[in-house]
Each structure stands twice: as structure tokens, then as C-alpha cells.
């Protein structure tokens, strides 16, 4: 029983990170109907920023969230206003090519500048764990999860309580009607992409004590975020939150009870089953 509980809880903790990346992806998709295939690469940029802040300035990775988020927000906003705004009315395949291209440029630039060496950010607590009635939970993952909950909560608050947040939701629900309310939808797009990138940056900072840092690490995150978002229902933030936790838990249980080499397989089988029986995703109809 403790073993089962252990697996579920570890899965939920990892799932929080998947949710964070997925929420960024779904926010961008909701507002612009564009799938950002560079989402994982933005996580990678966040990881490198965190790594160097730690190495050069000694800033704790969890504290550096306060710096990576604004930095990635700015990067995202620049990408949106210079590149992505130009393809808002283009064919979907062109939009996909653009975001994949941005991802390639980011990962190859990282390779050029930082080489493809694997780097490890090790803190004093990197391998410590906390035991709660027989269940051992990794300390960095616990911190990571707590911060994820705070960030997600703040985002929900922003989207539901503030005028700007409501304008983002309105743009996602009916772009034209939002314009008729006086919403500058191009500005909302820049804001949404900035926020999505900031969430990716936060995720990058939070996982850097537990993951290897290398230029190609983004691909796996993009794929996982995509699965999380489709599972939860494209454009649904609650869905992405739920999807992240489900994928994290499934992965962890599969690693514990099947084999850690096959955990991805279990995740994708689960994903295919949801697509077969609920093609719009778990919360496919409700949007944000």
C-alpha cells in the first residue's frame, strides 16, 4: 500500500510540472488557435537561464523562478509580436512550421553556445527526501510542486478576477466579439504568448534540480505537453491541469508496476484510449 501511495504521490508531483507546461500551451492555443511546438524549447531556455543564474550568481533554482518567468515572458512577447502575429491568419500548416522552426532555432542556438554537453545543477537538497508515514518524497519535487500550485493559482486568479484576464478568456471564446467589446486582440495575443512562455520558463526553473540540462531536452516536454493538452481538451486550462496530473500519475504507476522502460508506452496507450472514446478530450467542450 505504501508503495502504491508512493507511486501515486510522486506521479502527482511530476504531473504538476506537466500541467504547468500544458497550461502554457493551451493558453496560447485558446487565444490564437496556434499550437506552439516550441513550448518544450522554451522550457529548455528556462533551464539554461536557471543553470547559469545558479552557477554564476549562486541563485537558488526555486528562487530564480522570479527571474526566469519575466525573462521568458519578454522572449515570448518578442516572438509573438515579431513572428507569430504575422501568421495569425495563415494556413495551419504554415503556423506549425513556424513554431517548429522557432523551436529548432532555439535548440540549435543552445547547442552552438552551450555545446550539447549534459549539465547537472546540483543543490544541497537535490537528492534529499522527506518521509511521511513510510512514503518518501523527493524534496526538490515537493518544492517544485508547491511552487507550481502557487503559480497555477495565481494564473487562475488573474484569468478570472482581472479585466485583462477576462479579456484573454473573451478573446479565446470569441475573438470577433471581444474586438466589439474594445479588446485589442493583438495585444492579448502577445500577452498570451508571453504568459505561455513564462509558464514554460517557470517549469524549466523548477525541474532543473532534477533533470539533465541539454539543448535537446525540449522535444520530450513539447510532446508531453501536447499529450496533456489534447487529453484535457484543447484550450481548456482546467483540462490541462487535470491532464498533467493524470499523465504524471499514469507514468509513475507504469514505472512502478510495469517497467520504467515502458512507462511512455502506458502513457500513450492511455492517450489513444481517451482519443478513441472522448475525441474532444476530457473537458473538450468547456474552454477556459
Amino acid at each position: 500500500m505504501a508503495f502504491f501511495l508512493q507511486s501515486v504521490l510522486s506521479g502527482v508531483l511530476i504531473g504538476g510540472i506537466y500541467a504547468l507546461i500544458g497550461i502554457g500551451l493551451t493558453l496560447i492555443f485558446g487565444v490564437m488557435r496556434i499550437i506552439n511546438f516550441a513550448q518544450g524549447e522554451l522550457v529548455m531556455v528556462g533551464m539554461y537561464v536557471t543553470f547559469f543564474l545558479f552557477r554564476l550568481a549562486g541563485i537558488d533554482p526555486f528562487l530564480s523562478v522570479l527571474l526566469t518567468m519575466p525573462a521568458l515572458f519578454v522572449l515570448g512577447a518578442i516572438l509573438q509580436s515579431t513572428l507569430i502575429n504575422r501568421v495569425l491568419d495563415a494556413l495551419p500548416q504554415n503556423q506549425i512550421l513556424l513554431t517548429i522552426g522557432i523551436g529548432l532555432v532555439l535548440s540549435n542556438t543552445a547547442m552552438l553556445v552551450f555545446t550539447s554537453d549534459y549539465r547537472i545543477l546540483s543543490t544541497s537538497y537535490s537528492s534529499s527526501s522527506v518521509a511521511i508515514s513510510g512514503v518518501h518524497l523527493s524534496t526538490p519535487l515537493l518544492y517544485c510542486f508547491a511552487i507550481t500550485v502557487v503559480i497555477t493559482g495565481a494564473l487562475y486568479w488573474f484569468l478570472i478576477r482581472t479585466d485583462t484576464g477576462c479579456a484573454i478568456r473573451a478573446t479565446a471564446q470569441d475573438r470577433e466579439a471581444a474586438q466589439l467589446m474594445g479588446v485589442d486582440v493583438r495585444r492579448m495575443s502577445v500577452l498570451a504568448f508571453g504568459l505561455g512562455a513564462a509558464l514554460a520558463g517557470a517549469a524549466g526553473a523548477l525541474v532543473s534540480p532534477t533533470y539533465y540540462i541539454y539543448p535537446q531536452v525540449g522535444g520530450a516536454f513539447t510532446l508531453k505537453a501536447f499529450v496533456v493538452v489534447v487529453l484535457g481538451g484543447m484550450g481548456s486550462i482546467v483540462g490541462a491541469t487535470l491532464g498533467g496530473v493524470i499523465i504524471g500519475t499514469a507514468e509513475s504507476l507504469a514505472a512502478a508496476y510495469v517497467s520504467s522502460g515502458n512507462k511512455e508506452m502506458v502513457v500513450y496507450v492511455l492517450f489513444l484510449l481517451v482519443l478513441l472514446f472522448k475525441p474532444a478530450g476530457l473537458l473538450g467542450k468547456s474552454r477556459m
Partner: protein
């Protein structure tokens, strides 16, 4: 006195399809002006040009001295020209109250938000009962009330209404038109696009008849109601 809104020789085309051929109209402060015509005549296209959702090929649209054709859609709203679009277009995943709050998104409307919500709920008591319900779950008539209420949240100087009676029961149609007259009596200038020619001419001060993108008739509401051509084409008498 120059009119509040003046549209001059507006030409618009969707690609190669020429939709509006030199449409001109004026709306004076305090009026209800209606633009009637059959399906496909270009009525909605005219309104969408005013709100800058479409860009005209040529022609001018001047509102209170401002050339609207140079502005972006949100700037038109900030000037006080608000459109209630065809098909209601409420935000389906927001509650009635959230929709009304979105109606007062622009900065100048925020200080009076609570007062204007109260005004909208007083105008449509049904919305008060449903204020915490998601807009997507409302009936068609309630959604129309919400769309109009939302459009009033900025206290617009010119309200553009696109087919507010579409798809509503006859009883509700009369209520909606009476409400529009009431909104106008409270001081809002209205440009109303309608297929329901009889009801809209009944409440309008002046009317224009649009036929396949050309203005063919104009006059006071009463004159047009009595016009043989209008009777034959729209009123079935």
C-alpha cells in the same frame, strides 16, 4: 448641425465579390435609424465596416469628426460606437455577470460598471435571475437580451444593432423592439439593421432600404411603412 455618423460612398468587396456599391447614410444624434433589406443585401456588411471588422475598398465613415476607416476595432469602441453583433455572440463560457463586465472592458467605462450592470439588469429582469448562469446555457431570447445589455455597458453614443430579432418568438420580438425604443428614449442613438421591416420601421425615426448593395430608398419610418414599393417587397401587402 453635422450628423453624428456619416457614411459616404462606401464600396466594399469580399475578394472579387462586390458587396456594397457606394452606400451613403447619416445618423443624427438621438435618432433611431433603421437599415432594412432582404437577406444578402449587405446590411451586416455595412455595420461590420463601421466597427472596422471589415476594411472598405473606398469611401468614408465619419463619426463625430473622427474618420473611422483609419482606426482599429477597439479604438472605434473607445470613441463610443458599440455593435451588438448578429447571432448574439455572447461569451458562452462566462456567466451573465462576467459578460456584462466584459461589456465595460474599456477604461472609460470601468468607473460606472456597477451602475451600468444595475441598469442592464433593470432593463432585462430575466437576466437578474440568471446572473450567475453561463451565457452558453441561456435561451436564444435571453442571449439576445444579454448581448444588448452588454452592448449598453459603455453607455455608447451610437449603438449598432445587427438583426436583434433573428430567431426569436413573435412575442419576444415585440419586447425586444419596445426595449430598443426605450433605450433610445433614455438618450442612446441607434442604428438598427433588420429583416423584420414592419417592426423596425414602426420604432424608427428614419429608414433606408438596401437592395443588393445599393441604397434604393430612404425616408421617415412612417413614409416607408406606407410606401407601395416597400409594402410589395417586404410587407407582403
Amino acid at each position: 448641425m453635422s450628423p453624428l455618423l456619416e457614411m459616404k460612398d462606401l464600396d466594399f468587396a469580399y475578394g472579387d465579390v462586390h458587396v456594397l456599391h457606394g452606400v451613403s447614410l447619416t445618423v443624427d444624434k438621438g435618432e433611431i435609424v433603421t437599415l432594412v433589406g432582404s437577406n444578402g443585401a449587405g446590411k451586416s456588411t455595412t455595420l461590420r465596416n463601421i466597427s472596422r471588422l471589415l476594411k472598405p475598398r473606398s469611401g468614408a465613415i465619419v463619426f463625430d469628426g473622427h474618420d473611422l476607416t483609419r482606426l482599429s476595432p477597439h479604438a472605434v469602441v473607445e470613441l463610443g460606437v458599440v455593435q451588438v453583433p448578429e447571432g448574439r455572440r455572447v461569451f458562452p463560457e462566462m456567466t451573465v455577470l462576467e459578460n456584462l463586465r466584459m461589456g465595460s472592458y474599456i477604461k472609460s467605462a470601468r468607473p460606472d460598471r456597477e451602475k451600468n450592470i444595475e441598469r442592464a439588469l433593470a432593463l432585462f429582469p430575466r437576466l437578474r435571475e440568471r446572473r450567475n448562469q453561463l451565457a452558453g446555457t441561456l435561451s436564444g431570447g435571453e442571449q439576445q437580451m444579454l448581448a444588448i445589455g452588454r452592448g449598453l455597458m459603455t453607455k455608447p453614443r451610437l449603438l449598432l444593432l445587427d438583426e436583434p430579432s433573428l430567431g426569436l418568438s413573435p412575442l419576444l420580438v415585440k419586447t425586444i423592439f419596445d426595449t430598443i425604443a426605450e433605450i433610445n428614449a433614455q438618450g442612446t442613438t441607434v442604428l438598427l439593421v433588420e429583416q423584420n421591416v414592419f417592426q423596425s420601421l414602426r420604432i424608427a425615426h428614419r429608414g433606408y432600404v438596401l437592395e443588393t448593395g445599393r441604397m434604393v430608398l430612404s425616408g421617415s419610418g412612417q413614409d416607408l411603412l406606407g410606401n407601395e414599393q416597400v409594402k410589395a417587397a417586404f410587407l407582403g401587402v
